[in-house]
Amino acid sequence: MALTKEQIAKRIAQELQDGFYVNLGIGIPTLVANYIPQGVNVVLQSENGLLGMGPFPFEGEEDADLINAGKQTVTTVPGSAFFDSAMSFGMIRAGKVDLTVLGAMEVADNGDIANWKIPKKLVKGMGGAMDLVAAAKNIIVAMQHTNPKGESKLLPKCTLPLTGIGCIKKVVTDLGVFDITPDGFKCLEYAPGVTIEEIKAKTAGRLVIADDVKEMAV
């Protein structure tokens, strides 16, 4: 069985290390915050200007002046800090954020990513995605393995306009976990019930299977 969005988020949460500063994008990445392993303390960065983002507020306690990058009302945790947008992207650019998790429309086997624009469809803008992918030292993409038409999103080359080049290190999809290596996508783990044959069939980019490939624990 392919993973649910929650399971993808849960698997990515296993990558979190104690003391990490983490930026979570909109969509599946946001769900990662719900599965932070016990004993692991991470600080969530929201690029609109907050370190130490907490959960959604209780009903009636929403504050219009306290939102995340998805414009959702949030809270702060003890030890949090506010800052302006220049400083926010400054800390991202300077490599202070340990891990960025974001969604994608396409990832290429050389680490290129496309996630902001579909030609001939209305363009809403890149927001902070280009800044994040260009600068973050460690980026994990969370996405479905195929698009709604069933076509692979793990490609030899992105077909959509690029968000960043050679920047993605790891991809977690509903089918498995893949590192980006000089040999292309390296399958490290497969989702429970998913076969290597299915992964091969649904991966258009170069794919190698790790010698010690194993079933994902989620």
Partner: protein, 232 residues
């Protein structure tokens, strides 16, 4: 020195049609509601607006779009706005999309008196088209120029009669850099206090950058995406 003006009408009185404006705010968070209303009411048009977003249909910069007052929008993300889409598709509105950090930093550069900065965002993408590339320590960077805005309009939580500003929460966002970048900077604040009442240790924008200040009224502070959790 008198920076205090009576209200939004007086603060924006000399903004001509065709001006370039910076407008603080992220989504609807921290937008200068009073000045936007005054600009809409006065009908100044042909404006170039530099702001991270373009508001929603019936609030924020969306109100200026409804009045066809915006000629060009410079932003990083412009979703959630049907009128914006309509004007963009019909060719009435020009749009320049810029990575969010680049947008913030081009404002910052202007406020710090730097003509340009080298940034990584957009390398290898269409954002890089036509821009000078320089290699530093083995990495390519894009030359990005400082913005040039006639007026910067921001909203702060507290301000004093000297123009010193303090922001609250994530309503700070782009406003400090924009305040620093405007040739003329207008600040509307929720609470205007006499000089001496704000602790100088906690000023986010020193008054030297602020030319006009007033206490705004009737803040709606609309929430774009209300998310809550249940009490256990």
């Amino acid at each position: 020195m008198n920076k205090v003006v009576a209200g939004a009408e007086e603060a924006i009185k000399d903004i001509p049609s065709g001006a370039t404006l910076m407008l603080g705010g992220f989504g609807l968070c921290g937008i200068p509601e009073n000045c936007i209303s005054a600009i809409v009411k006065k009908g100044i048009n042909n404006l170039t607006c530099i702001s991270n977003n373009a508001g929603v249909d019936d609030f924020g910069i969306g109100l200026m779009l409804q009045g066809r007052q915006v000629k060009k929008m410079i932003a990083s993300y412009v979703g959630e706005n049907a009128e914006f889409e309509r004007q963009l598709l019909s060719g009435e509105l020009e749009v320049d999309l810029i990575p969010q950090g680049t947008l913030a930093t081009r404002c910052m550069a202007a406020g710090y008196g730097m003509p340009a900065v080298f940034l990584l965002a957009g390398i290898g993408t269409e954002v890089a088209e036509g821009k000078e590339v320089r290699n530093f320590n083995g990495k390519d960077y894009l030359l990005e120029e400082a913005f040039d805005a006639d007026f910067a309009i921001v909203k702060a939580w507290k301000g004093d009669t000297m123009g010193n500003l303090i922001f609250k929460g994530t309503a700070r966002n782009f406003s400090p850099m924009m305040a620093m970048a405007g040739k003329i900077t207008i600040a509307e604040v929720e609470h205007l206090v006499p000089a001496g009442e704000l602790d100088p240790n906690y000023i986010h924008v020193p008054g030297i950058y602020v030319h006009r200040i007033f206490e705004g009224k009737n803040y709606e502070k609309r929430i774009e995406n209300r998310t809550v959790r249940k009490r256990m």
